[in-house]
Symmetry: C2
Subunit: 190 residues, 2 copies
Amino acid sequence: MTEKKQTFDRYEIRLSGSGGQGLVLGGVILAEALGVYEGKNVTQTQSYGPEARGGASRSDVVVSDGEIYYPKATELDLLLCLTQESCDQYYPSLKEGGLLVVDSDKVRQVPSPKAFSLPFIRIAREKVGTPVVANVVSISAVAGITGICSKDSILKAVLARAPRGTEEKNRLACELGYEMGAAAERGVHV
Amino acid sequence: MTEKKQTFDRYEIRLSGSGGQGLVLGGVILAEALGVYEGKNVTQTQSYGPEARGGASRSDVVVSDGEIYYPKATELDLLLCLTQESCDQYYPSLKEGGLLVVDSDKVRQVPSPKAFSLPFIRIAREKVGTPVVANVVSISAVAGITGICSKDSILKAVLARAPRGTEEKNRLACELGYEMGAAAERGVHV
């Protein structure tokens, strides 16, 4: 499916932001890309309750080539933040050397000098025509930055969940996000 | 929101069936009903990988009034099965005294004499006009059987996730499922 193959003992991804940004569905799609189309072991979790009601929404994806004994993300390898509040809340859970990926318009106080700061929501609104696909732009960028799954796999997973009539917008969101992420990872200014 | 209030140390629900029956979304909606609208602590998990590729899809919801230290369901309090294969695979994980809830047309070999056997998929197809809402009928029936969340809460969660234009079908699926579950729990033949 792709030449780019990585082996992980365990890789923990957290997608965070505010409720209504579609990150629960984003986590489901990313997990399906990895589990169904890339053949990884994947667990996808979200929590509701006092923590979630703090204002920051989160959706966790744990990937492994081996069995996953503990499905909850505890030491994040990658943290995506679409709001300042979620960044403030979850940055302490990012492990040393972990990747921080933030929305450049929403997260103005970036706690690490090495973050990927990209305009996910703006790209969704201006290039696709609707902010509702910001979740697809974001998870596709995560795929592009990490190489954890191929563009083909994330696109298949996105299209399998796209409501009828929204396939083209979702395809475009996925393409733009993946290429933006891959370019950022190579150090190309986008 | 409801007079019926229960307290749980921990209550584990597994929704199982085959891929494409909408049980990942069903788990997300049930978790939102409990976590967002009932104020419980909830963790919702799905796994992909060799286990999932065995053919049986599953989506787990763990509910508690206290903190959830381990989010994975291990000793099920309630198991819903929309296929024979998922019933065969997960019935051993149902704890003694746990509730088995099966689709009466799809699960013909019921491993317990005390199961709730109800026609979720048939009700979706014949009374709502589309089998795609079988997931909503099923989770609403789970709410009605257990009383774990009010009809109001499950309906709010269902409508919050209903694609535009499908609200009425989803509302009907929820009403039918909840009432069928509540009636079955009272021992009324439906």
